[in-house]
């Protein structure tokens, strides 16, 4: 399969001013290499501060990386200017976390779906109308006539997010960034949105970068999963392998932390590692996870950063336990 989106050694540093003279460097993404193949969903799982959202924004060139390359369909667009990017933007779209704030509250559903067509000068009025109707059918907001005139605040969370999906889809992009698309929707409606995305992917062969903190949904809606911690990838593997046999202790901890509807859970405490992820301003030496790692090996883990190696077949991890 073709590699559609290549992120090569992406580094994204921000400068934050602290006080009058000092400024700190936030290493949000610190050397990440990933590829998204055509037709696949790559899940990125991590907690807040892991840099996953920043990575997603780099992949859409909403921000320019401090270092590294972004290659889309063979073309290096790391430093491309806005004019050159217009073509890219037609083929790469985004769905964001909060459907309420990522959609203009002053536009109705028709206008929201029409806007990408207007921006890229596609079709005349009749053709645009047709495309909007088609998209409304695809995102299952029917009867189309009824939904066209509604405004965002009149819709439920799930419906709003479907409008956001429709807006991203209407240009028939090849690549979609989905940044926490369901975390603000009720648990019982999440699957609906995710199914829709998957159905569309299968039908159109689109690639998704699915960013989430919820490894459970990533498990069901990604072909491969990359686990991020404090700006770096710690594990990358096909989903079933990652869940069944996680290599990295952090991945294991994430899996352990997921609640299950088992009534006996209330009698015992969940296995969880203590502490919180440190701030991306003060990155620990060596392996970034070593202060919290239950398998910490002194003399090794805090000295140098472990390289990413192929621990098992197509299962990569950066951990000294496997080298």
């Amino acid at each position: 399969m073709k590699e559609l989106v290549i992120l090569e050694q992406i580094k994204m540093y921000f400068q934050v001013r602290k006080g009058l003279f000092r400024s700190l460097i936030v290493r949000a993404v610190d050397g990440v290499s990933l590829t998204v193949k055509q037709g696949e969903t790559l899940g990125i799982v991590g907690e807040s501060g892991s840099g996953k959202t920043t990575l997603g924004r780099v992949s859409l060139r909403l921000i320019t990386p401090t270092a590294g390359h972004l290659v889309f369909d063979g073309e290096d667009i790391t430093l491309a200017d806005d004019a050159k990017l217009k073509g890219f933007r037609r083929r790469a779209q985004g769905i964001f976390q909060d459907p309420f704030s990522s959609i203009d509250p002053f536009m109705n559903v028709y206008q929201i779906l029409e806007e990408p067509l207007l921006i890229h000068g596609i079709g005349d009025r009749e053709e645009r109308k047709g495309l909007v109707y088609e998209t409304l059918e695809e995102i299952k907001l029917t009867p189309a006539q009824e939904f066209m005139t509604k405004y965002v605040h009149m819709l439920s969370g799930g419906q709003r997010q479907r409008v956001a999906i429709g807006r991203a889809l209407i240009l028939r992009p090849d690549y979609i960034l989905a940044d926490e698309p369901v975390s603000m929707i009720d648990a019982s409606s999440r699957a609906e949105v995710l199914y829709l995305a998957r159905e569309l992917q299968e039908r159109r062969g689109m690639s998704f970068l699915y960013i989430t903190h919820d490894i459970a949904t990533a498990r069901h809606f990604s072909h491969r999963i990359a686990v991020m911690y404090l700006g770096k990838i710690v594990e990358l593997a096909p989903t079933s392998k990652l869940i069944a046999q996680p290599c990295h202790p952090y991945t294991q901890a994430l899996i352990d932390a997921v609640p299950t509807p088992d009534p006996t859970n209330r009698f015992k405490e969940r296995r969880v590692i203590l502490g919180e992820p440190p701030s991306p301003v003060q990155v620990p030496t060596g392996c970034r996870f070593h202060p919290r790692c239950p398998s910490f090996m002194p003399g090794k883990c805090e000295v140098t950063e472990p390289p990413m190696i192929e621990a098992r077949e197509s299962h990569y991890t950066a951990c000294y336990l496997y080298s």
Partner: protein, 320 residues
Amino acid sequence: MALLNISNLRLYYRTLEGIVPAVDSVSFTIEEGEALGLVGESGAGKSSLALALVRILPRNIAAYDGLVEFEGVNCLTLNDEEFRKRIRWQKIAMVFQGALESLNPVIKVGHQVAEPLLLKPGIVRQQAYATAQRLLEVVLLPPEVFHRYPHELSGGMKQRAMIAMSLILSPKLLILDEPTSALDVMIQAQIMNLLKRLKRELGLSILFISHDLALASDICDTIVVMYAGEIIEKGTAEEVLTEPGHPYTQKLLASIPKLRAEAIPEFIPGAPPDMTHLPQGCRFYPRCPQALEQCRREHPFPFSLNLRHEVRCWLFGDQK
């Protein structure tokens, strides 16, 4: 005697579109040391129920009545002053949704935690601060947090501080409304462990409100499922999670994505009804996969499956 006994509690709002029966004749009890989970979609009335219990009501109330008996005292007969002095925060405390943003950014965390105690007559400042410091320890925060400001704390630490603040007057019942929704999954697990320990060590009763059934099952002894302002299923955790009666509860369970199972999570199509125009029959009828004709016409009663397990569904219509 149950610690909290709620019977036919109603809380109706008056809105521009009509009357919203947010809490429509709800009844349940919480014993001492019991954790009860209140589960449902957003808009089901869970938060309204919590606000009705601590009596923080908006101005557009259309109805607020029923029985709320706490340690034998009928709270609704108390006037606002008495309720504030005797019940709120010292018997029943609450950690609100979005509590992370509730902290005052210009006051030190320790002082804020101590504040409810400082408002009590006869308490010296030193005493209050000492108690606050102790509570910060109980919630596993490092002692220097007392002198920090909220923006210096992470999300998880702020949530622990809020829990400490809610415990300062040693309440018997702690209400938590989506206490972990803004937190990462590992921090969430840590907080849940903390709550379990507090429940065990302090004998705390907990009313745990969430839209996530898996999360509620992590701590709750009893589970109450709400839909469109009503309780549609009620029972012990074992009963509700392993043998759910109501189709809605079954769907809720099925929508939880399971890590170790291959089965993909389900979802419930459609949306909850418009609260100002509720249907005549069962409120879940339009989305129910097992609906009967009777469900469309008649509003179901709660039927007892056994001593503790109740389901409001015509599928169990022959039970009494």
